[in-house]
Symmetry: C2
């Protein structure tokens, strides 16, 4: 089972868009795919028409199960979407209280890992969307994943923040003693602005080891898709953004095969 | 003293850009202005060349002072920038642990409010930049401010998130029993995409009471300014983005005068 976490402490860099788009592309290939929303703000959850305020059972329930000494089980919590082979484990705003309530308790960093272990027969792929903040939710994603994608907007402020994300990653790897294979994905690339091109060059100079050599371009179709509540791959085959994500997926599947 | 918090749980909507740009415009008028960075990711801090990883004293020190039973004092912590009348209270990545360590302790929501009370003779304006997550840091901003600005990207996913931000605001107002005057500011408006225009229309239909009637347009100059480490008002008088922020500031100063 592929478990890909999509994380970056910087906000608005395309984490949710990446999780949904890659998940949708994989489901269109006929592979059973689960999208997990770990962001209390619930962008992914509301994208598929669920309400993060409703308090309905989802990720938060898993933490409550674990805190009560039970084995976390998602079977009753996973929701279907209107797209074949694509299901969602939803977020709720109550998750914003988890750090305060459970943060220092033993084992709360392994809730998601435990949950996904019992789902390995049912899903080929799991995409985990993270909140833009380091806390128990992001730690869960990093502990559960076998690959980490870091979307980085091709602009200066976001590049400064990348060092911090990589610093966080090193910290987590040291405490969990597991290496996490990561890939930096340049997003929201605007070929008309000089600052975008310069930022991309800097990325290649400073991070080339773990950098995907493509870019995800700015594509207004993503906004249209979110308006329609459809993942963009379900709306268009030819959009520039989709072709870029398809190239990214091929790169990821190729390099996964080698491992 | 004007204390404006700039908050939204959705990431990447222009919070830091709004705090820096409004702060810079006010400092160019000769008014002493303090920028406070409450985001552990430290976008505002690194914009001005400081390092949020360095652990240097800043906002985090205020929380430690309060937790140790002292009155929080920022006098030694505030840093100058290379711009007249503009100073910064910096963030550090250690702030990401505050919810876990201090979240449930009494009074930790009032650290910033207490700190700013002793600075009212020194600054005419305080802009407080918030992290994209509900927690003790955002609660501090809402408790300390006398006005709240909510930047909202003019696109569908961000609109869905606005309800959650307003819901959070109601919750905080109820528990603090203070009304917080808020203004919704449409940002990253792209006049070429249909989805942007439709989102703006929805904003006017559903939120017109607390909505600024202007928009902040997408302007590539903001990316250039962040690359140069300069607030955009220091680089350009005529940029579209600056004219829009100037109109926003006029609106804010006019409506503040009435209160
Ligand atoms: N390639 C793209 N082209 C154009 N718009 C995009 C692209 N990718 C994402 N967007 C838009 O940019 C905004 C931010 O994207 P998204 O919400 O996926 O980021 P995020 O990192 O998940 O944000 P958060 O930090 O709030 O979780 C959204 O409005 C989305 O529609
Ligand atoms: N009006 C604008 N035109 C073009 N780019 C903009 C504009 N406002 C902000 N940006 C760019 O959009 C990105 C997000 O802005 P910013 O970092 O201010 O958002 P934020 O809400 O503070 O994000 P976070 O949630 O991470 O704190 C930045 O790269 C910034 O340069
Ligand atoms: Mg997101
Ligand atoms: Mg910010």
């Amino acid at each position: 089972m592929r478990i890909w976490a999509i994380a970056n402490q910087k906000g608005g860099v395309g984490k949710t868009t990446t999780a949904i788009t890659l998940g949708a592309l994989l489901s269109l290939e006929g592979e059973d795919t689960l999208l997990v929303d770990l962001d209390p703000h619930g962008s992914l959850t509301s994208y598929f028409g669920f309400d993060p305020e409703s308090g309905a059972d989802g990720v938060y329930t898993l933490f409550r199960q674990m805190a009560a000494g039970q084995r976390p089980s998602a079977k009753e919590l996973i929701r279907p979407t209107s797209f074949a082979h694509l299901q969602v484990l939803t977020a709720s705003t109550a998750m914003a209280t988890l750090d305060r309530q459970l943060g220092t308790r033993e084992g709360m960093g392994l809730v998601l890992k435990r949950t996904l272990q019992s789902l390995s027969a049912e899903y080929r792929n799991v995409m985990v969307d993270c909140p833009p903040m380091l806390g128990v939710l992001m730690v869960n994603a990093l502990a559960a994943c076998n690959r980490l994608l870091i979307p980085v907007q091709t602009e200066f402020l976001a590049l400064k923040g990348l060092d911090r994300m990589l610093h966080t990653l090193k910290m987590i790897q040291r405490s969990r003693q597991i290496p996490i294979d990561h890939l930096i994905v340049p997003t929201l690339f605007d070929r008309h602005t000089e600052a975008s091109a310069q930022s991309l060059q800097r990325l290649h100079e400073h991070y080339h080891e773990n950098l995907w050599d493509g870019v995800i371009p700015v594509d207004a179709k993503f906004r249209e898709a979110s308006m329609a509540g459809l993942p963009l791959p379900m709306m268009s085959d030819t959009a520039r953004g989709i072709q870029a994500y398809r190239a990214l997926l091929e790169f990821l599947l190729d390099s996964t095969r080698k491992t």
